[in-house]
């Protein structure tokens, strides 16, 4: 590990006329930044419509305080619970002698394939006890903890066991080693995952409206139901972005100045697993409970609706178009989002300048905004500025990028941080042009991160509903819009095949993501690429 905080780009300065890659990089990083600025500008414009008095009146309402309380409670509780479950599960499957680790690893990833609104619907049908704040915390934690589990498991796996062995050999006990050596090295992974969970909670709508929990996001949707030209929804949106600020910058603070890259071939050696001993049955029981809660209940309910209900089979002819719609929007949308995210990550890793850091954090601030606000912002702006692209995929993909850039950023960064800058510099001194050095050395080393980014973004895009409804070309249906449509008509059996297919298809990116995250020994790939 090297702790590098200062500017170490000496090599690139050697070129006459400054660093061409960096300039190109800055230009490329401007694209996502400009996109992200769109909803912010829109929200500020619309909030301004309320006037100072309106804004202050909105802020001073008792209800705003209630919403703030609920939003913060939900966000913190779910994030904390996910950190606990995700970390514990990752440690048990990577560092202990728990029986059946391989199976548990897979089961801990699968909840990612289950959209939160499907899970919430399943839980809700079990009774009113699962509605309200406690139920929401339980259900959303169960569906979100893989976002922590996966990066932490990957970090534990790729960690050099030598550090832990040295610590142990210096007489530190297992707990001290864990706290002083293991834990600090998982903090970036843990923080990155926690950031995603927290931002998800701020913008979650479908699940919360089913579970009857009111947050800023559900209130924003409500405002749009009640009134049509909306200043107070904009004020709530602005507040929501303010709430995202500490989340976005807190995570950056957690990882301040830390780089864990290693030069040289990593040892494939694994550390001797910790013995669970008599705790093993208890830990296993814990895993069984989590699997039942996170997977058993939602899948069981889905099966129940598949076989029961009069509307079964209704609208089945739409399965083909919906599947095609989902894939034809989600796959290119995923590529666009990931490609746009790449320069942001590279820029912030190479430059500690204000713009780089600002550009890197901005997407996280917007990630907490509900899809409805982003979609309406794009309607407003695109139809005025670029009417020819309105209701084409261009605008929809822009919305997808705005909504989900942080997922791609986090995944790419996990890989990018492991790539030592020196490697690219070596390629440069060997006479490769900056672009070629990047393409032949850095990009291949980023492959695991890019794969994870593609998988994670595809997962989210396939279940995205609000922006798709508003911005997709007229007449295009997706699996998610069909599920929404049928449940809206209380036709649950008709919705079930679409929901089941959505879960099945989501299994593919989950599988890829899991494979990528848990296979990582990127150093080996670097050395192959450079030889």
């Amino acid at each position: 590990m090297t702790r590098s905080s200062g500017d170490r780009d000496g090599a690139s300065r050697r070129d006459a006329g400054g660093p061409p890659v960096s300039r190109l990089l800055v230009a490329l990083a401007l694209i996502p930044t400009a996109l992200i600025a769109l909803p912010i500008v829109y929200v500020l414009l619309r909030s301004w419509g309320a006037g100072w008095e309106g804004i202050l009146a909105e802020l001073g309402r008792r209800r705003t305080l209630m919403l703030l309380g609920n939003t913060v409670t939900l966000c913190l509780s779910v994030t904390f619970t996910c950190c606990l479950i995700g970390f514990a599960a990752a440690w048990c499957t990577e560092r202990s002698d728990l029986p059946g680790r391989r199976i548990w690893r897979v089961l801990c990833c699968l909840p990612l394939a289950m959209p939160a609104f499907v899970a919430s619907f399943a839980w809700k049908s079990l009774g009113p006890a699962f509605q309200g704040m406690p139920g929401a915390i339980l259900i959303l934690s169960m569906e979100s903890f893989p976002l922590i589990f996966l990066p932490v498991a990957a970090a534990l796996r790729s960690m050099d066991p030598g550090m832990e062995e040295v610590s142990r050999s210096l007489g530190k006990g297992p707990w001290q080693t864990f706290l002083r050596v293991t834990l600090p090295r998982t903090i970036p992974a843990l923080g990155g995952g926690a950031l995603l969970v927290a931002a998800h909670m701020l913008s979650e709508f479908g699940a919360l409206s089913l579970l009857r929990v009111q947050t800023f996001t559900t209130a924003i949707f409500q405002q749009y139901e009640l009134q049509f030209d909306n200043a107070s929804a904009a004020v709530l949106s602005a507040l929501l972005m303010l709430l995202c600020l500490p989340v976005a910058f807190g995570e950056m603070w957690l990882r301040r100045g830390v780089r864990f890259s290693k030069v040289g071939r990593n040892t494939a050696r694994r550390i001797a697993p910790a013995r669970l001993g008599r705790a093993a049955p208890l830990v296993t029981l814990g895993f069984v409970v989590v699997a039942l809660l996170a997977l058993g209940v939602p899948f069981g309910r889905l099966l129940y609706w598949l076989v029961k209900g009069v509307s079964a089979g209704r609208g089945l002819e739409a399965i083909g178009p919906a599947l095609y719609g989902s894939l034809s929007l989600a796959l290119p949308g995923t590529v666009v989002t990931t490609v746009i995210a790449l320069p942001l990550v590279l820029l912030v890793l190479r430059s500690r300048g204000v713009f780089a850091r600002f550009a890197d954090r901005l997407p996280y601030v917007v990630h907490g905004l509900p899809g409805l606000v982003v979609a309406l912002a794009l309607v407003y702006l695109s139809i005025r500025l670029l009417p020819s692209v309105y209701q084409t995929r261009v605008v929809l993909f822009a919305a997808y990028a705005i909504l989900f850039l942080p997922l791609a950023q986090s995944a790419i960064r996990a890989s990018a941080e492991l790539v030592p800058r020196e490697i690219e510099e070596v390629a440069r001194t060997l006479g490769r042009s900056p672009l070629r050095a990047f393409l032949s050395v850095t990009l291949p080393a980023l492959a695991p991160g890019l794969g994870a980014a593609l998988a994670l973004v595809a997962l989210e895009l396939m279940r995205e509903l609000t922006a798709t409804l508003i911005l997709a070309p007229t007449g295009v249906v997706t699996l998610a819009t069909e599920v929404w449509s049928h449940t809206n008509d209380s036709a649950y059996a008709a919705a079930a095949p679409f929901a089941a297919l959505l879960v099945l298809i989501s299994g593919v990116p989950v599988y890829i993501f899991t494979l990528r995250m848990l296979k990582s020994v990127p150093e080996r790939q670097i050395s192959e690429a450079t030889t």
Partner: protein, 341 residues
């Protein structure tokens, strides 16, 4: 080798992305025939039935953009004069009234407006009802006796009904009910009713969620539109229902008639075809198609619904019409004052 194949993959991916960006708008196969763009907030079964009948009768194709009525209204307002929409079909009339107030709707043909009673169309003549529903009380038969239910919906806002009443302040129909109470009993009474409901009732996100909660035994009573219960009855089968409908009648705001409806966008470049579509909605054929697919009452005299609903002329509803309700704008102010929004 590794990185070559990866780069190829990436190139293919970029190619796919680029191609799909360019392909852009969906071009219908029948590019020569006329195609109307329908922004649809109504439940899909009646819309699909009507569109099929309309296309069969006229040869004009219709492409639907399905969504939530209020969100589509917000979208139409953001689109303004550049909207690609020809017709807006809303689940609730206030969304239509709201875009009418923004000057986005064109007047409907006088002949169309004549087809149904004037109470179910806008006073401005810019939108027209397609089907009528009534506000009802859904109750769980095992949790409460029919005889214990009150004679006015206002009574539900009292302590006697604490934790027994589900309502959905987000629902457009509930907002219309609030305005009806305000028009009939005065604004103070409406505010007191909402405050009572907030204190003693249970907030649900939608009418259908409230009805399902009653059917599932979570709560005894729900204020809802009639058709949510009929849709659930259709899904679960009439014999297995734990809940039933209670029509208050007595010209109480608890039995309020509301409509789904449609209007033609002023910005439509195919206004003649769009007007034909709306005219078809209130024709005998169009009305039969609509009420065959959803438990709404036909607005055109002489059309019969196949659903086992309480006959329209026996409802004895509140003397407030959809035209009176307009965009229900005061509902928001009332809900905010009662801290429900």
């Amino acid at each position: 080798m590794y990185d070559v194949s990866r780069r190829q993959l990436m190139r293919v991916g970029l190619g796919v992305a680029g191609a799909s960006l360019i392909s852009g708008r969906v071009t219908p196969a029948h590019a020569q025939t006329q195609t109307l763009a329908l922004y649809n907030g109504q439940h899909r079964p009646p819309v699909e039935a009507l569109v099929a009948a309309f296309t069969a009768a006229t040869g004009i194709a219709v492409v639907s953009r399905n969504g939530n009525s209020a969100q589509l209204a917000s979208q139409l307002i953001e689109e303004g004069a550049n909207s690609p929409a020809d017709v807006f079909w809303s689940e609730e009339s206030p969304s239509l009234a709201a875009i009418d107030e923004k000057g986005l709707l064109a007047p409907l043909d006088a002949e169309t407006l004549k087809q149904i009673p004037a109470a179910y169309a806008a006073k401005s003549g810019a939108w027209i009802g397609a089907g009528a529903r009534c506000r009802v009380v859904v109750y769980n038969k095992e949790m409460i006796e029919l005889s214990a239910l009150p004679k006015t919906v206002l009574d539900f806002a009292g302590e006697a009904w604490a934790d027994k009443v589900a309502f959905a302040p987000n629902s457009g129909a509930f907002q219309q009910q609030v305005v009806a109470v305000s028009l009939m009993k005065g604004r103070d009474a409406a505010l007191a009713w909402l405050k009572g409901l907030r204190q003693y009732g249970q907030v649900y996100n939608s009418d259908s969620a409230a009805v399902e909660a009653v059917e599932g035994g979570d709560i005894a009573v729900a204020l809802s539109n009639n058709y949510y219960w009929h849709a659930l009855e259709k899904e679960l089968g009439p014999d297995s229902m734990n809940s039933a409908l209670y029509h208050i009648g007595n010209q109480d705001p608890g039995t309020l008639i509301t409509v789904s409806g449609a209007g033609v966008l002023k910005s439509s470049k195919q206004s003649e075809a769009a007007q034909r579509f709306v005219a078809f909605m209130v024709s005998a054929e169009g009305q039969a198609a609509i009420v065959g697919a959803i438990a709404e009452y036909p607005l055109r005299p002489g059309v019969v619904s196949p659903f086992p609903m309480k006959p329209f002329d026996q409802l004895d509803p509140a003397p407030v019409t959809p035209a009176d309700l307009g965009d229900a704008a005061d509902a928001l102010a009332l809900l905010r004052e009662a801290d429900l929004a």
